[in-house]
Symmetry: C2
Subunit: 366 residues, 2 copies
């Protein structure tokens, strides 16, 4: 490029910014971005920049010969299309924003990973919008940052009740997909089939002969936790059993441990459905320390099927979630909405699968 430029400026100067004398050899700003522009390529290839554009975007209407020449010039100059200019012209950023409160739960991370993967396949980038605290203010802040962000659509991995006030401030042309929520009336929602997975777990325990099934639930403000608790209660009721009072944790192994100490003391607690695997881990430790054997004395089923679940003591029977599929569907929905430039409503549920390992057995004395 340097040669071409300088030659251009030095010779009789047929075209281009001939005005620029020997000085200023096309100075770039300090934090400059691009190297060669279409104009540079065009000059080197001896064509117009529009032709370069056509080649760059693979349009027809360019001779093979010309195309070849342009390609060579691009190669030589190391030309890369400037995405900012492209976005400015087209109004599309080819980017999806993901808002999430925390990356400390397996589910969120797995989903995010799948979203990034799917998006990349579709030629979209993923921008991460972390929200420090799960407060309305923080969420609103994230959305407001998002507003001036280069994003075509947003996927929200978060409880909706934190959303209400925030979403309305989003520019109307940004499409939203929500995970882990019951906002199906207002947005496209993609979620694991919490109820189905729960039902499978509870029925499995009942089928083993347990009189009833206890529940170590997630935090009250979690929609997923709520759903699992509801389905647990409903399944027991349907089966004519009396649901014992649920115990609450906060998803952490530590809280599972505390709950386990509690449950270990309860008479007649022979089976526990735990709302996630991490809490199940803590529960297992508490039961062990309390001298209750798993699965001989107490059966335990988790939820999530984190990679470590098979290495628990004993290996944990749990409900497998297909996070990859959730991510894929999110991206698909986001792109669909973008293309039709209109929101959709409704909920898509991704089925779960019960993974039987070694933490369940018939109740003692049967």
């Amino acid at each position: 490029m340097d040669t071409a430029e300088r030659a251009d400026a030095g010779t009789p100067a047929p075209k281009g910014p001939a005005g620029t004398p020997a000085t200023t050899p096309r100075r770039r700003r300090p934090g400059r971005s691009q190297n060669a522009s279409m104009a540079d390529v065009a000059r080197l290839a001896g064509v117009s920049s529009q032709t370069v554009s056509r080649v760059s975007n693979g349009y027809a209407g360019v001779t093979e010969e010309t195309r070849r020449q342009v390609r060579a010039a691009m190669e030589q100059l190391g030309y890369r299309p400037n995405s900012a200019a492209r976005a400015l012209k087209s109004g599309e950023f080819r980017t999806i924003g993901v808002i999430t409160f925390t990356l400390s739960t397996t589910g969120n991370v797995r989903t995010l990973e799948a979203i990034a993967q799917s998006a990349a396949q579709e030629g979209y980038a993923v921008t991460l919008l972390p929200v420090a605290l799960p407060t309305q203010d923080e969420v609103r802040g994230a959305f407001s940052r998002l507003e001036e962000l280069a994003v075509d659509a947003v996927i929200v991995i978060m409880e909706v009740h934190l959303l209400d006030a925030a979403v309305i401030t989003l520019p109307p042309y940004v499409q939203v997909v929500v995970v882990d929520s019951d906002a199906g009336d207002h947005y496209t929602v993609v979620d694991t089939d919490q109820a189905g997975g729960t039902r499978a777990a509870v029925r499995h325990l009942l089928a083993l002969g347990h009189e009833t099934v206890w529940h170590l639930a997630g935090p009250e403000d979690s929609y997923a936790a709520q759903r699992r608790a509801d389905a647990w209660r409903a399944t027991l009721t349907e089966a004519g059993r009396t649901p014992p009072p649920p115990v609450r944790g906060d998803w952490s192994a530590e809280s599972g441990y505390r709950a386990g100490l509690d449950l270990a003391g309860r008479d007649g607690c022979t089976a526990v459905f735990v709302a996630n695997d991490q809490m199940a881990l803590g529960l297992l430790r508490a039961l062990h320390e309390s001298g209750r054997r798993v699965p001989e004395d107490v059966s335990v089923i988790g939820f999530d099927d984190i990679p470590e679940a098979g290495a628990f003591l004993p290996p944990l029977t749990t409900v497998h979630q297909d996070f990859a599929e959730v991510g894929r569907l999110c991206v698909a929905a986001a792109l669909r909405q973008m293309r039709q430039d209109a929101p959709e409503r409704g909920t898509t549920l991704v089925p779960t699968r019960l993974v039987e390992r070694a933490s369940t057995a018939p109740p003692p004395g049967r």
Copy 2:
């Protein structure tokens, strides 16, 4: 154009989109992005668009009165600066790209989260670049996608040996920071003090009276694993002990389990330093199943201090990594390099801390 526009919208209706006559009121392309532009705000506020720009960027030289008026107009029109135009003009995207192979290790996720957090504080967005497979080709592909991406700097969370060929194709103005690598000669590297953490762990075990310390290492192609193994060996040698042959895992709990079955059979294995907590989890299960008690018969120390480590059976003594600090330093380094528009070299190590829980004790018979 301005005249045409004004004529178009120039009906008696002076302001607001209230007018919208039968004619096309400023039609936007289908997938259109922006609502109001500076020009719109300027028109409404009765100033020039440059003044709007000044207000938007908080520059001085604008009367309080004018500023107020412009603000009001912005508010009314729901004006949001167009980041594409901004990027085109300034050459900065205010975005940092993060390339990572997998989000299945705690370390990567934690680091990513911290990066996102720090970046947000600095007003930068984070774009995620997933690499499907840890092959040179895949990495090169990711980088090549990155080239046309709107990114000012890149943070690579990955073993460098996968990088060599790829990085050279990056546009020269994009700054790179690397984690988990020994590429300090070529890039800015931020990493946990693997050696220091390992030394603390091994010394702790020796101080308890163990004759030597076995090592369950991570995969060979991992730089972190290599460093930990080297430091383990060096520390033992320094102390005049003979390092037993290391056992290899692949970071997964499952591989830790297999290694544990192996180690449980070894005579004289009373202490194991495991290269990460997940493998330690599997190891604990294997030892348990083999009838070796932890910590009475065998002491175990992990690495990472994942949130669940305290809920293991027994709670795991482990080396705590400050991922948040790593992330923060990455962002700081990236921004620093961007601002001075030049790469830096050198490695920054983030100290670790040994967290003592219940998986270590003096060797049996002492």
